[in-house]
Symmetry: D2
Subunit: 342 residues, 4 copies
């Protein structure tokens, strides 16, 4: 930690700050500059906090040096993490596509979608049974009935499933059905929920919140890892900015940053990231070109009649076409995507 004193700081104030540093178990090193004095603190600053010093008289600013997350950090990690979702591995050379409808609506809908996305090269089926909705009057999901339908689709196709859990009360219930939990953007700092899934060993797809910095996002993953669950995939799904032409602003900068900072695989969700079906395929290709390990895409048999998110869902034909484009780009960056089944 580096403590910058004000120009006007008195000798007495400097002495008090140095004493405070010592009291926190750190070693102060004083640097008298031309205009100001700076105090560098040697030791493990994770044991204290910048706030302790910011409030002292004569202090201008406190600048931390170390990051606080350890388990998610790439420093010290021997290799990148590979997350197993049944027989599918996220974080390998193959790009894993998770596809399916926003909401599970019926057996026919989910089973036909599972078949279609599998045929086009997807490896995991997504579908929501518990839906977070802005309005309490909007459709909130089929709940356990939806989980059962997902399980049926898994039996029919062999695709593992990923589905959202919103409530700590439901972690056990959802865990009885799903192969991977999804934590949605609104819950990225719902620490009770993060802790609860951290107690399981079921893989977690953790979505970045609408205004979560990348640093906060890694800390959210750290909550899960600290609970003992090592199977975390980070998912960028668009952030909230001033722009209103698109639903969100897909932040592909997050890819190289997260891959440099952490050893966790990174997934991109262009469906939420841009929010308009016809703009999804170019951004899916972009995500792969920038190094995504996985993609999440919304697919529905009949988007015009979807119960939610129809405006950003691909139909079966659109999905197959998008996959063809993604496959070509994947090859151009030495990654693979399963071939479609005729």
């Amino acid at each position: 930690m580096i403590i910058v004193m004000r120009k006007s700081a008195t000798e007495e104030q400097i002495q008090l700050v140095m004493k405070a540093v010592t009291d926190e178990g750190l070693e102060p090193r004083r640097l008298d500059g031309v205009e100001r004095t700076v105090i560098a603190c040697i030791g493990d600053e994770r044991a204290t906090s910048a706030e302790r010093f910011e409030v002292l008289e004569g202090v201008d600013r406190v600048m931390p040096v170390l990051q606080d997350y350890k388990l998610a950090s790439r420093d010290g990690a021997l290799e990148r993490t590979r997350v197993p979702v049944r027989d599918v591995i996220i974080g390998d050379r193959e790009i894993v596509v998770m596809a399916g409808p926003c909401s599970v609506e019926s057996e026919e809908q989910i089973v036909s979608t599972a078949r279609a996305v599998k045929a086009a090269g997807a490896r995991i089926l997504r579908g929501g049974a518990f839906k977070p909705r802005t309005s309490p009057y909007a459709f909130q999901g089929l709940a356990e009935d939806g989980l059962k339908l997902l399980a049926t689709a898994r039996e029919e196709t062999g695709l593992p499933i990923v589905t959202e859990v919103m409530d700590p009360h439901n972690v056990e219930l959802v865990g009885r059905y799903t192969d991977m939990y999804q934590i949605g953007a609104r819950n990225v700092q719902n620490y009770a929920l993060l802790r609860e899934v951290g107690q399981t060993r079921i893989p977690v797809l953790l979505k970045r919140g609408m205004s979560t910095t990348l640093k906060e996002f890694v800390f959210a993953a750290e909550y899960i890892l600290a609970g003992g669950n090592p199977h975390v995939v980070l998912c960028e799904r668009g952030i909230r900015t001033f722009e209103t032409a698109t639903r969100n602003t897909l932040d592909l900068n997050a890819l190289p940053v997260l891959q440099e900072w952490t050893h966790l695989p990174v997934c991109i969700d262009p469906s939420h990231g841009v929010g308009v079906t016809r703009w999804v395929p170019p951004l899916a290709r972009a995500a792969v070109a920038a190094g995504a390990d996985a993609l999440m895409l919304e697919v529905h048999p009949d988007p015009a009649h979807a119960w939610s998110d129809g405006a950003q869902s691909l139909d079966f034909e659109g999905f197959a076409e998008a996959m063809d484009g993604i496959r070509r780009v994947a090859a151009a960056v030495d990654r693979t995507l399963p071939q479609p089944v005729a």
Copy 2:
């Protein structure tokens, strides 16, 4: 709902959209303009959603006309809501100040703070027993021990208490001690939690999230109201913007907007809104000048040694001085603040 067709829309597409409108139980009215056709939908659009139409061929945009929230809306409300917290009423002529430390740390700390803030004119004691922290390694609060200390401070001073609940599992536990729940910014769209406090009749201080639009914020309140709990106070506490000089950007625009849209009282939290102690008093005065019904202020006996948020906490003397300034501004807008006790 207004459906704007593309310039290039065909007659057949227009007919299909009109049919879809009818199928949703609304009455379509066609308007052929110079360049485009617009279809206005007559009826209660709350029964459907814009997405149904956005995905149809030939549709350019869909513009909703009605708001979706009913219980929070000022339309139809006979008068502004007054929220009772024991003997204190939020939403009256008197401005209610809730003050206290970020975290409850010890009996001496919380009791001495309760006495000091009461003497200066505060009516409710705040203090955190469960703390949401970015890092899993930071201090997370004293939990039930903290709740007991708050109850002790209430006995000693008669001040009602407000404290945060983060986990649906703890709603019952916290409710055994507190006079008012606080839902924090990170949980404003934690619907499981909102529903749970909506089942109680304990008043709720609902904080706006860092990137929650005012419309989404009112919808979050609607979740609580829809559960049957009418005692909701909205609290603006700073939003996240590009500016880094301050911790957040306090959005005082929210005051007249929320008071026009809803009948609920509005509280302002300048401590989090600006994040630096010496900048808190001017923004507290501003909040009152703009019409705040309540203020939440962080106060600590010794901010330099606070376990959290010391950098934005007032000490007792600073709080008393701030209250003097607030009291003068309150009078200038025909509101009151209790006199200090010598």
Copy 3:
């Protein structure tokens, strides 16, 4: 400047960085921490830049210690600056209200407005002759004819005038008429224009841009000051955020921050800051309560027929009422506002 090395930095990399620091005329001080090495640079860092070191091998981050602006800085200033606009002083105990229409439209419009705002207590007349408009097809202002009408209104009422200059070509022309230049939000980093007004001695009202950080804003003022023109007033007028309920987000946090960082007076423009007439008065009061030295308010004889910004303009009666509220709050913070003339 503080240079933080990566954990993995080699001794050779550290030596090269220390040499680079010496080459820049600074003195390096090495600090070997538990996990990393930090190099503090002693000397005037304004002579170099962080970028020089960020690109060296083994460097993790570079943190500047000093601010780069000197003339605007409160450090070293003997007292707060008072800006004279003819006989009006901005930065004194009296709060200076600048009021008038968005666009100058006709002699009757501007003269009647000047009389009305003067009667209610305004001290400076505002009005646009050159209008920056998003669309090239929108009304762009009356140009020099507008300036002449402003001069007429000044003759009739004695009020000094402030009007926008957008084009370096017009600085001389506008300067022949106006008592104070306004630099609009879109031009806050139009350095050619800043330099040009910096060459004059006409006072400048500099508006913050929609996404200008406070630090960048002070640097923009520094361009004018560095040209030799000491008469700068900073004006916050709302920033661009994710919120769409209001035209902009008025950032009143800027008041205490700018007043701590600089010695320049600060003006607030709630008309643009919130964008809806009926929400302007509470935010004007808030600005005064938080310490504004001046206010800029849009006033029009008939907002429903204004050529621009009608939706945020007060009519004469609304303005007089707003001034009454502002006057009471001003008194509550020991400031004054001229009494209305019957």
Copy 4:
């Protein structure tokens, strides 16, 4: 235009609004809904503005239907625009890479860079002679000397050049040397400058501002087109958001949106968009995968000693490697990039 009346609007207010619509030369169509009345206006709404109606009594909201830009709009355009920069065409199947240093520093620097980027497949040389800098004390560019050095590099290599113009006074001067103007992000709404380059027939690379919406961005282009200059290339270079890990947030959503709305070619600048050299290549590949027509990349012989933007500049080897990756992705989306010259 659609005018939504308040629920509480009286018959008289409705009649007055309908009259105002007629007065503006539009035809009002009244729609009495279950809860509210809506008035649709038939005719060319470009002749009026929403503000005219927003201020009328009883009006809740006004929603425009038509876009205001005509020349930039894809509606009505026969085909996508191809912008010729000497013998290079932007907007064809070939992806045009513009590369070079942030600032022109010396003949050796610019000529060696021109040779290196040409050898690796770039088609246009970039380099700044007039630099917009946040601080007035930072290096501001070599001015005309820099332009001469660019011209020398063009002679040596045959590469056309693009360079920034910041000041309307310099449009003629810069035009004597350059093959393409660059308008920087800070000047995207500097209308005096846009008009001035609109009077020439020299192609313009127009950069999006840090907080410019895509709609405003297209309007800025419309200023140039309306002046008679049809040669405009739009350039996304990162927007300002809450995220601080990267210099800006590169908004690749802009690509499909701008290509749908307009007929103009779109360029992406990942150097400014992410701001850290090692993160530039993946985002350059992403831009191409999403459909970019051109890329702008910062390249410097020795980034560690660059006078500006060293932290985001590629060296010659890094650039050649990045181009190899871009070339492969280009092929995967049926675009081309010139082969490197051994």
